[in-house]
Symmetry: C2
Subunit: 152 residues, 2 copies
């Protein structure tokens, strides 16, 4: 199966992969969540090749994660902004960064994440929308126990 056909798999994880299943794409989204909007900004920060940055930005726009806007007419200049769909990736990146910080051996500079509601540094905790209690690997089941297409 080709990369380009992943989007035909009826699984939410595979669908997500068809949009953000690439390291450079994720780094671009990370930068966008931090406030980057310009092509060169993405290129310098990710250090991906210019061709890859251009291709990934086009793909993100195509999937409705980012919007390409002209901010200057002469000369024509564009910038990339996250859409609501793109901003909704924030929890994904945050939980991923937390996994990295707590599970991987190599030290990374702390992200210094702070919750403005309470003012504290914090760890993201995934909870149940119904009862509010934390969700762990052990307290989850799936309705169709062993279906054909994957899910997580």
């Amino acid at each position: 199966m080709r990369w380009s056909e992943i989007d035909t798999v009826p699984c939410p994880v595979a669908q997500a992969m068809s949009v953000i299943g690439d390291a450079w794409t994720m780094l671009i989204v990370r930068d966008a969540l931090r406030g980057s909007t310009r092509f060169d900004e993405f290129q310098r920060s990710t250090r991906a090749s210019r061709a890859v940055v251009a291709e990934r930005l086009t793909r993100l726009v195509h999937h409705g994660v980012m919007e390409r806007k002209q901010y200057e007419a002469h000369p024509p200049r564009h910038e990339y902004q996250l859409t609501a769909r793109g901003r909704a990736l924030q929890p994904v990146l945050m939980v991923m960064a937390h996994w990295s910080e707590t599970q991987l051996p190599k030290p990374t500079r702390s992200t210094g994440r702070r919750h403005t509601t309470c003012g504290h540094a914090f760890a993201p905790v995934v909870t149940c929308s119904d009862c509010g209690e934390p969700v762990t690997h052990e307290t989850i089941t799936y309705d169709r126990p062993r279906g054909s297409a994957g899910r997580a």
Copy 2:
């Protein structure tokens, strides 16, 4: 910059990418979280080429996400099991699947996720470990506002 050098970037997202920043790897982890352990099981479900499945499994073992265990001596047969580090990816996949289900247009079969603590189907909500309130893109700040290396 090469893919193989991502792990030198001192950013937790980049570090995560160096381990799971690949679509096939994520699908393998998804299957493992569902209970798959065998090479052929991963290959059939992901439909990646056998060479890629072998390479990705080796990489996951190398990064301590999975363990390779011999479960039969004659003929030698191995299986792959998630380590604690691998099981800790469950929230990442779950939040990602939720993003996919709520944000992407293409319909995917519902994952039918159920919380055994309360017995209900649920959506994962990322909350603050300190105050317990939901965390959104708007209620987060970062201590070093515009550092050199990325974070999210």
